[in-house]
């Protein structure tokens, strides 16, 4: 009804020659909604990370675990159903390897990361705390501006991890900062609480009254590929340094194979040596002489 009313009113206004102030300069609204879901076979640690992200980002919408790992394009439809234009998808393989997809649905691009070194908020080492759903500051390393693929990832992070002003469950204050840094060609994710140090506790070397306490979670994202489309399409970037965890594991196993092999070789060598050391039958042996 209201839309009909608005349309009628604007028509009337136009007819009257009244121009609405908003029509001059259309106000841009950063409308981001993120679908948050995982594949089947997720482990507890990955699940905790997923819930942590859901708590940190009030503009996310969680969905049920996805059955299929091969037909990922259906996520685009799921996102559309949920009115989401972004997606974070946790793909778990072999119940141990976590891959995270960040995608702009439905037209892309999308990035696939391998997630390593996960520490969730559940852990007791990180002592910070913040409001649930408060907007945070996003801090990016300057390295993100060095190459196009990092730049693209930065844009994706700002849209997916940045909480829009108009999100429904946000709280009005800014009390934490999320940082993305590039070290060792990986992206390191950290989340800190911002606290203000009282005057009497400040030392002479402090340049600011702010201090940070880590809240968590923390994890490392190793980019694998950047795709043209959402969950598919042409590859625009492929990380040459990425080593699949399967390969890494098989390398470790192969290193152990060497030990087994060398042991078997040694046994074979010993057997041969013993065979060579055997003496030929003595013609003067007791059994030969008195038989």
């Amino acid at each position: 009804m209201s839309t009909v009313f608005k349309a009628q009113k604007s028509k009337q206004d136009k007819a009257k020659g009244v121009v609405a102030a908003t029509e001059d300069k259309p106000v841009f609204r950063n409308k981001q909604r993120v679908l948050l879901l995982s594949s089947r076979g997720i482990t507890f640690r990955h699940r905790h990370l997923l819930t942590d992200l859901g708590d940190l980002l009030p503009h996310t919408k969680k969905d049920a675990k996805l059955d299929s790992k091969s037909k990922l394009h259906i996520i685009n439809e799921l996102a559309e159903l949920n009115n989401c234009n972004n997606c974070i998808f946790f793909e778990v393989r072999k119940r141990q390897d976590l891959y995270m997809w960040l995608a702009k649905t439905p037209n892309g691009p999308s990035v696939k990361f391998h997630i390593q070194n996960i520490h969730t908020m559940e852990e007791l080492k990180m002592t910070g705390n913040c409001l649930k759903g408060s907007r945070h500051i996003l801090s990016f390393d300057k390295n993100f501006e060095s190459t196009p693929h990092w730049l693209l990832m930065k844009e994706l992070f700002t849209q997916i991890f940045g909480i829009p002003k108009t999100a429904r469950r946000i709280k009005p204050f800014v009390d934490h900062v999320i940082s993305f840094s590039i070290v060792d060609n990986r992206i390191w994710f950290r989340n800190y609480q911002i606290t203000e140090k009282p005057l009497e506790h400040r030392s002479a070397t402090d340049t600011t009254d702010l201090t940070l306490v880590e809240i968590g979670p923390r994890f490392v994202m190793n980019p694998i590929r950047v795709f043209d489309g959402s969950f598919g399409g042409q590859t625009a970037f492929e990380n040459p340094e990425f080593v699949s965890p399967n390969v890494a594991r098989s390398n470790i196993k192969n290193a152990k194979v060497d030990r087994y092999k060398s042991r078997m070789d040694a046994i074979a060598k010993k057997d041969e040596k013993l065979k060579e050391a055997e003496m030929p039958e003595d013609p003067l042996a007791e059994t030969n002489v008195f038989a």
Binding site: F28, D55, L56, G108, P109, M121, L124, T127, N129, C130, L131, K132, S134, H136, I137, L138, S139, F140, D141, K142, N143, F144, E145, T147, P148, H149, L151, L152, K154, E155, T158, Q159, G162, K165, K171, F173, V174, D175, V177, S179, S181, I182, V183, D184, W188, R190, Y192, E196, L210, T211, L212, I215, V226, D228, T235, A236, F237, E238, N239, P240
Partner: protein
């Protein structure tokens, strides 16, 4: 796409082919052999990446508070990513810079930054969880303190032992010295008892004689005291009676001597010496049992070490 872009692509593909990504295996000297060549060409289509970035980018003229994103002024540089401390410090500094800048910008745009103290709302970590964290910190502190105390105690023990040995040696030395002195004195006496020693004794006797005479005279004037034992001049003081008083205190003086140590109604009602903890302790009970058993004649006693070990081996 422009010319420059396609040129760039060309360059890229060439680079890719020349680089180490293309794994070429050569045949043996005998001749070319069929080898399965694995070719891995990585993709880095920069123009496409730029286009994608432009495609999704937010308009540039929006207020900063829409995204609240800040790029650091200095790139994070960590020499060794396995060095936890330096790495985390670098991240911390990056985030701190963003926090400081962000606060300024938020305030400039008229937003609210810090949470007032009386604003309570659901937190990301529950109170239970925070209590757990606090408890863990306390426990850690306590364990650190305990270990430090134990360390200090160990040091003290080491030091105490040193002091003990020193003291023992000192005492032994003193004893030896004293014995030495006595020996020398004895020797001296044996050596010259005919002359000097006799004179000495004589002198002492004279002096004491004088004193005694004086005392006797004064006593004679004053007459005898009530006890009729001692002269008044040599009446005892508290200092001189110290030893006697101690003895009296210990063994009693005057009064009834019998049943002094036997219980009466008051003493048997007094249970201040009773200790529940000690009474319930296993060692106390064991002792009690053992004594009972001994009275009966033949309770189980712990056999000696050798017997124990042999017995265990046999069974």
């Amino acid at each position: 796409m422009s010319d420059s872009d396609s040129e760039h692509e060309q360059q890229l593909t060439l680079e890719d082919l020349e680089g180490s990504d293309t794994e070429m295996l050569s045949g043996d000297e005998d001749g070319p052999v069929d080898i399965f060549t694995k070719q891995k060409v990585t993709v880095n289509n920069e123009p496409a990446l730029r286009r994608l970035c432009e495609q999704i980018a937010l308009p540039t003229d929006i207020p900063w508070s829409e995204t609240q994103s800040i790029t650091s002024s200095v790139p994070v540089h960590v020499v060794d990513p396995d060095d936890d401390l330096n790495r985390e410090v670098a991240f911390y500094n990056q985030a701190l810079e963003a926090a400081v800048q962000g606060r300024d910008r938020i305030k400039k745009e008229g937003g609210v930054f810090e949470r007032p103290g009386d604003y309570f709302a659901e937190m990301i970590k529950t109170d239970d969880h925070m209590a757990k964290i606090r408890q863990k910190l306390l426990d850690e502190n306590a364990s650190i303190q305990a270990s430090e105390r134990a360390k200090a105690q160990r040091e003290l023990k080491k030091f105490g032992k040193k002091v003990q040995t020193e003291k023992r040696l000192e005492r032994e030395k003193a004893k030896a010295d004293a014995l030495d002195k006595i020996q020398t004195l004895k020797k001296k006496r044996q050596g010259g008892d005919s002359t000097g020693n006799a004179d000495d004794e004589f002198d002492v006797a004279l002096a004491s004689d004088d004193d005694e005479m004086k005392a006797y005279k004064t006593a004679g004037k004053g007459g005898k005291n009530q006890n009729g034992k001692r002269p008044a001049g040599s009446s005892s003081t508290t200092e001189s009676r110290g030893k006697r008083m101690k003895k009296d205190q210990k063994f009693g003086f005057g009064g009834k001597k019998r049943f002094g140590k036997s219980n009466d109604a008051n003493s048997s009602a007094d249970v201040s010496g009773f200790n529940v903890k000690r009474n319930k302790s296993t060692s106390f009970k064991a002792g009690h049992k053992a004594s009972k058993g001994a009275a009966k004649g033949g309770a189980k006693q712990r056999p000696g070490k050798g017997r124990r070990q042999n017995g265990a081996g046999r069974k």
